[in-house]
Structure formats: C-alpha cells, structure tokens
C-alpha cells in the first residue's frame, strides 16, 4: 500500500537537510514497526520520496512524503508514527493513496509560506506587493547550480499579502507576509527570491531579511493541498 505522510519541521529539524530527514524517516518507520517495501535489485532501498526539499533554516507545517509499505492496519499508522518520532519532527496525518496517484514530487505546483516581518515594514511591503502583482511580467535572472537563466516571475506569483500579527495568546507578536508561489518541477521559485524582488519593487533597503520563514503547505497547480489526496488512514 502507498501512503502519504504529512509532517512538520521545527526547532532542531530546520537545520537537517532533506536526505538526512529521509534517512531519519526510514528509522522512524522501523521504530514504529511499519514494514517498508523495498526496491528490487542488488542494493534494495526503501521506497520513499519527498514532495519538495525545504531550504535549511526554514520551519514547516506542510511537508509530505510518499512511502510504499507492506500491508499494515491503517488505524495503527498515525499513532505508531507519532510515538516513534521526535518533537521537532511532528507527524500530522497519514493518507492512503489509491493506485495510480501521481507521486508527491510530480504533483507539486505551488507552495505557501509565512515570512515573519517587523511591524514597521508592513506598509512598505504591502506597497511592493501591490506594485508587483499589478505588473504583466516581471523579468528576472535566476541563478541555477551551473548558470544564470532569465525567467518571468509574474506567473509564479499566486498570492502575496500582509497578515496581521496573531493574538499574543497564540504566541505571535509579529505580522507576516503570506506568499503563495510556484513550486515543483515545472517552475520553482524560492521565497527568498520573491522577497528580494518585493523589496526592489517597494524601494526598501536591500539587506532587509525576514525574521523567520515557515512553509505552510504544498499544493497542486490548481491550488488544492497535497494533503487532500486519497483517504484518511483509519
């Protein structure tokens, strides 16, 4: 059976690269007593893949991994994974995917982020967001590992808005910039890149950095969450 696990990265886990997180999940599955399915061939490896790597230092409440496992009582999956993981790597949900569901990686089209900002930046950033969204195209240069490519940022921007600071009782004091931007194999932009363009459009100081960046969710191109695929394991 193929399952999709929704998890988060907090605290210490923000500094763990995605290959190490993958290895950690293999250990968590073993600790949970959930038998993984293995690839065929000379050095079999567990069949497990992530939707989209998360940059180092970012926290998240919307990560996904797909895993093929041997038949296991579905009601046991979530409680066992929760018991086997650590506080900084919370497991939120497990869904059972029907055969033929595209893997998580291929499904990703958008990602949403919350960038914490200082209250005094809010007006400037709101102005920048309005200006960017009003433009028909935003030609930019994007650095890849090997070269610099020219691309249009505008179709990659689905939503940009300022969120007010949450109530003190909920632990938040800072307002935030909400971003919903293209992600995945077709077009992929990082929140840092959008932030830079936003500052440029707003005429803000170049060296400003968001106080914290958190990924909220991953979505298909049509905007539906990856967490809605299949059925809840119960």
């Amino acid at each position: 059976m193929i399952i999709r696990v929704k998890f988060g990265k907090e605290g210490a886990l923000r500094f763990i690269g995605h290959l190490d997180v993958l290895r950690t999940f293999q250990k968590i599955f073993r600790r949970a007593g959930i038998p993984m399915a293995y690839s065929q061939g000379f050095s079999p490896h567990p069949l497990m893949s992530f939707a989209l790597p998360l940059g180092l230092g970012l926290s998240s409440e919307g990560e996904y991994l797909d895993a093929e496992i041997e038949e296991t009582d579905p009601a046991q999956l979530l409680p066992r994974l929760r018991a086997a993981t650590s506080a900084d790597l919370p497991v939120y949900a497990v869904r059972i995917l029907p055969d033929g569901t595209g893997n998580a990686m291929a499904s990703v089209g958008r990602a949403s982020y919350r960038l914490e900002i200082r209250p005094e930046w809010a007006d400037m950033l709101r102005r920048g967001a309005e200006r960017l969204l009003a433009r028909e195209s935003i030609p930019i240069e994007k650095e890849t590992k090997t070269r610099t490519v020219e691309m249009d940022l505008r179709p990659c921007l689905y939503e940009m808005k300022i969120l007010p600071a949450p109530a003190k009782s909920e632990g938040g004091e800072k307002p935030a910039l909400y971003l919903e931007i293209a992600a995945g194999s077709k077009a992929n932009v990082k929140p840092e890149l959008v932030w830079t363009e936003l500052l440029r459009a707003a005429g803000g100081p170049e060296d400003l950095k968001p106080c914290a960046v958190r990924r909220l969710d991953l979505m298909r191109e049509d905007g539906t969450s990856l967490g809605t695929a299949g059925t809840e394991a119960q």
Binding site: A12, D20, R23, R30, R31, A84
Partner: protein, 626 residues
C-alpha cells in the same frame, strides 16, 4: 519548544548546524529543576566523530536511568563556530537543554586519544571554566576525565579535578550519591574532592605530589592526605551480562561516523600482544552471554530504527559462541533488511562463509593485521598470527571471490631490523603470487589489489613495551621510504599499494603516552598558540608544537628517545590495573628473547589480574555456564 543556544543567524552561517541543535531520537529531556545533579558528558572532538562512541552511549543511558541525574552531551565546536563563540562571547552549551556547561555540577570528558588534548582545553575555555583545576572555585563544575588515556593521566592532570580509572559502570553511582549528599550539606569543593579520593578507582591529581631526580625522571609520587590511596586501583565490571546496556541509543539526524547499533560482545582480549595497551588494561576477558546479546541487539534495533548492527570487541573471533551469535543475528536481521558488520574477525572458513552472506564480495576487502614483516619480529611482539595462517586465509578468500586485501603493519617495533622491514613488501608479494598461482586466469573476477599500511609504533603505558625507546621523526620517514622502495622492487608492484602514517604526530603521541606532569604546560602553550583538532591531519601544525616545547623548556626527546631502565619509576605506576609490573617486565624479557607467550585460553600466565576473580581467569568464581 526548546530554545536553541545559537541564533538563527549563526546557525545559518556555520557548517553542519545540526551538530549544535540536539533534539535527536532518544535524546533524553528532563526538567532541570527536578534533578539533583546535572552532568555534561563531553567527547572532545566534533559531533560527527564523537556521536557514535559506545562508552558515551553506555554512560549516558546509565546516568539518565537515575531520576535525580540528568546527563547531557557536549562536543567540540568546529573552528568556524569556535571563532564566532569567542567573538560574541557565547558560552559553550550542552545539546539537550542548550544550557551553559558552566551551570552544570559535573563536566565529564572522555579521553579516547591523546591528540584530543588541546580540544579538552578548548571545551574548558569556551565553557568559561579555568583551565587549571587549582584556579577553579565553587562556581565551577567538577571536571572529571575517563577513558583509555586515563591510564596515564599525568600530562593532563593539571586540567582535571578527578579522573575515573576503570570501567564506568562501577563507581559513578557512589560518586554521585556522595556529591548529592555533600552538596545538600553545603560542603566545599575541596572537601568533596578529598572525600571522592576515598572511592575506589577515583584519582584526585591535586592530592598527590611528584618529585623528580636531577635527570628529570620521577623520584617519588606521594599522596598529600590520608584519604588519597598510594595506589589507585582500576575498577571493572565482573559480570557484563548483568550490566546496563544502552537499549535506546541516540539516533543522530545527520550521518555520523558510526551510523549503526554497536553490540559489545566482550571486554578484554586473550591474545597478549606486547604492544597493545587495550590487551592489558581491559583484562581479563569477560564475555556477555549469548541470550543477553540477542536480547539487547533486538531491543536496540527496534528502539533506534538503525539498519545496521556491528559487533564490537578487541577480537571477535575469540568470543566463545561466535558462530551461534552470528547465525542468530543473521536470522534476526535478514527479514528486516538489516545489515551486519563484522570487524575484527579472523579470516577463516567460518568468517569467510559469513562475510560472503552479509556483504558484497566484489566490493569488500579482507583485512589481515600481521603487524610485522617477519616471523621473528611477530614472535617478539607476541602476535600469534603466522605466515601460514595468512596464506591459508588469503587462499580461501581468493577462491571465495575476494580480490581486495588489506595488511596492517607497524614500523619502529623493538628489535626491528632492515630485514624485518623488507619482510613487509615481501609478504605482500607472496600474497599476490598466491593469487596468481591459486586462481586460473579465466576464473579471476577482478584485479588483485593489495594495500599495506603502516603506523609508527608508539610505546604505551602498562604494556610490556613501556620501557622501549622510540626513534626520531627523520628516522621513521627514512625507514618508511625504504619500505616503499621495497614495494617498488616487487614483481607485482602494480598490484601492491603502500601507505604510512604521519611521523610528526607519532612523536607527539609518544610524548603524551608516557609523559609526566611537566608536559601539561606544553599542551597549554600549544593551545594558546592556536593548536586545536590535532587529530585532524589537515589541522595539525607541527611547527606550533615545536615552538611550544621550546618555549616551555621541555625536551620531547626525554620522553621518546630513552630506553628506560628496568627499575625506573613511571608517572603512571601509582595506578594499579591488576596486571603487575613484574609480569610486564617478564614479557619484555621474553620479547627480547623472541619467545611467545600462550594466550589466556591456552594457559594462565600469572599476569596478576586473577585477583579480580572474574572472566576467563582460573580464579573466577564459576557459575553455571550459558
């Protein structure tokens, strides 16, 4: 949520920030206000190296079983973070709570190799603890050292309040009970140290005073108070199967050097190689029972989720039930895609059969450790392995499909001659010849590759070779070059590869291994000059060390180039490891005559450790055999 000691900005700047954030699976969290004693356990090297250390895992598990103790971990910050911490005055912290080490009751430092000594000073310094024990106050943690290097703690004695001599399972409970009681009574640091000196296995350096002869050798080593015994006796576990074992090993997120469950199957070694300190100081051989091992292996695998398990001991083939153990583990592991790694197995038909099942023959290599190039010298060092054993093992391996073979040697052993050194390439050539003779051309599944590597011999305390002299750096290199030339002259030179260790580090290790208290100022000076992570070849700076020796007026040759007289008092003689100096000297004499001594299973040689009445010794109180 745990608060991290380092800011986002710093964590995003340094290499591998995962080293500093803790939070791993099975890391123990407690309420700091509900424990009586906080212990910071430090491995003075970088996280990736220190993480998998079995001794640390055993004691971490054991300490944390006590509800009144919270043991956390500390590692050396890598130079990038070290710089930032000094600049921004960030105190060194423990991984679990992220609290400053300075706030702990104890800082325990495990001393696994001599080249970590400057890192010990780094850890003290970054913690804000005075380097010298004499300068510490009631506000500082008690600094305690343990591990293999404590069998001669004198070069670093100045930096420690206490040393634990022996196996950690035995008297830590008494030490903690004493500390907690005296802390509640409001006793001073000084009073606690005096009382601790009365616990067997605990050495308090400040309560002893050495005096020296004019030639620099030790004249006397005297306790200053009645609580301090003239001889500090090593403590050891008599029955390993009853001892605590980490069934919940900490599982790091980043891949450490040891990414697996380690199963310690026994302690001690029956062999008695005369150069080997571990073979003497861990006597007698004590095995864990088979059923006990199967149980802890099963639990540790389940609780950690590791996909590999490794057997650990000085010589696994000498474990009396090795065949059923390995077969049992293979059955347990095969269903779950768990690998077994079998280091230190002697090459014979059983081990080859097992290895062909658990690893890829084409990729893996087989290892022989003849240590010396001729039978004469192998007799001197009491290495039981004969050339016949090697060739028989190699032939079986070649027929089994192996084509990669590694040989380990030492250069600079006592009585070594040019003939012994040239025996090294000659032995490797004979192994290559054997391959071409044994395996017909059409059956060869790959090119034969023989890799020989040699280390320079460093005499260690509590070995029969503790009296031996070392050589100068230039002499070591000259000898290694001649061995290398010898390899070039062999018929199958292209199949043979030879490498040798660094000579500078060898000489320094030699000074530390048999050094006295005068060496501590050199270590301190070298640290001030910037020496750190000396175990890392690319970080080792010999010029700075030479400068430190010069500035401190300490002559390294005094420690390395002298052959010591039979009656010299050694700086480590106040430690009683159980094996007597008389036995060691008798072994030295037999070495000089080239006479081998039978192993402990063949015959008791009266080394002295029989008075512990345990393990393989004939004096052991026998109980029903498992």
């Amino acid at each position: 949520m745990r608060k991290l000691a380092l800011s986002e900005e710093i964590l995003n700047t340094v290499e591998k920030p995962a080293r500093y954030v803790g939070g791993e699976l099975n890391a123990v969290m407690k309420d700091r206000d509900r424990v009586d004693l906080r212990f910071a356990f430090c491995f003075p090297d970088v996280y990736d190296i220190g993480m998998g250390n079995l001794g640390l895992q055993i004691l971490y598990d054991m300490f944390n079983r006590r509800p009144d103790v919270w043991c956390e971990r500390v590692y050396s910050p890598w130079p990038d973070l070290d710089r930032i911490m000094r600049e921004k005055k960030i105190p060194l912290f423990a991984l679990e709570s992220q609290d400053p080490v300075k706030d702990f009751d104890f800082l325990g430092i495990t001393l696994q190799y001599e080249m970590c000594y400057t890192n010990v000073l780094q850890v003290l310094d970054l913690s804000g603890i005075p380097l010298s024990a004499a300068e510490r106050t009631e506000a500082d943690p008690i600094v305690i050292g343990g591990g293999p290097c404590t069998y001669n703690p004198e070069p670093i004695a100045e930096f420690f309040d206490l040393f634990y001599i022996g196996e950690g399972e035995v008297v830590y409970d008494s030490l903690f009970d004493l500390y907690i009681r005296m802390k509640k009574e409001g006793a001073s640091r000084r009073d606690f140290l005096r009382a601790a000196a009365g616990i067997e296995g605990i050495y308090v350096p400040s309560l002893y005073e050495p005096s020296y002869h004019e030639d620099g050798t030790l004249a006397d080593f005297k306790p200053l108070v009645p609580e301090a015994p003239a001889s500090v006796r090593r403590v050891l576990v008599k029955e390993l199967s009853g001892a605590a074992y980490p069934e919940n090993p900490i599982v790091p997120f980043v891949r450490p050097v040891q990414d697996r469950v380690t199963l310690e199957i026994m302690r001690g070694c029956i062999r008695g190689c005369r150069f080997c300190q571990a073979g003497m100081v861990y006597r007698p051989v004590r095995e864990r029972k088979l059923e006990h091992l199967m149980e802890i292996a099963d639990r540790a695998l389940k609780n950690s989720g590791y996909d590999e398990i490794s057997l650990s001991s000085l010589s696994s083939s000498d474990y009396s039930k090795i065949a059923p153990l390995v077969t049992g583990l293979m059955e347990r592991c095969s269903q779950d895609h768990i690998n077994i790694s079998l280091p230190s197995l002697r090459i014979d038909s059983f081990s080859l059969d097992v290895m062909s099942k658990v690893q890829d023959v084409k990729k893996s290599s087989l290892t022989f450790a003849p240590e010396a190039g001729t039978q004469r010298l192998r007799n001197v060092i009491n290495k039981g392995l004969t050339e016949e054993d090697i060739m028989r093992g190699a032939a079986m391996a070649f027929h089994g499909g192996w084509t990669k073979v590694k040989f380990y040697f030492m250069i600079g052993l006592p009585t070594e001659t040019e003939e012994d050194r040239q025996g090294i390439p000659a032995l490797c050539q004979r192994a290559a010849t054997l391959f071409f003779d044994e395996i017909p051309k059409e059956e060869r599944r790959g090119k034969i590759q023989i890799t020989a590597s040699s280390a320079f011999f460093v005499p260690k305390p509590f070995t029969p070779f503790q009296w031996a002299k070392m050589e100068k750096r230039e002499e070591y290199l000259e000898r290694a070059h001649r061995v290398k030339d010898g390899f070039r002259r062999q018929v199958n030179a292209r199949s043979l590869h030879y490498e040798y260790h660094d000579a500078d580090v060898t000489v320094l290790e030699g000074v530390f291994a048999r050094g006295d208290r005068k060496v501590s100022r050199v270590i301190r000076r070298a640290y001030e000059l910037g020496c750190l992570f000396d175990a890392w070849t690319e970080r080792y700076d010999d010029n700075k060390w030479q400068q430190a020796f010069r500035e401190c007026g300490v002559d390294p040759d005094f420690y390395t180039l002298r052959e010591r007289p039979a009656d010299e008092l050694f700086p480590w003689d106040f430690i009683d490891i159980g094996v007597t100096k008389t036995f060691l000297r008798r072994e030295w004499d037999r070495a000089m005559e080239g006479v081998v001594t039978p192993n402990c299973r063949e015959q008791c040689n009266g080394c002295g450790v029989g008075r512990y009445r345990c393990g393989i010794c004939p004096t052991a109180e026998k109980e029903e055999q498992s």
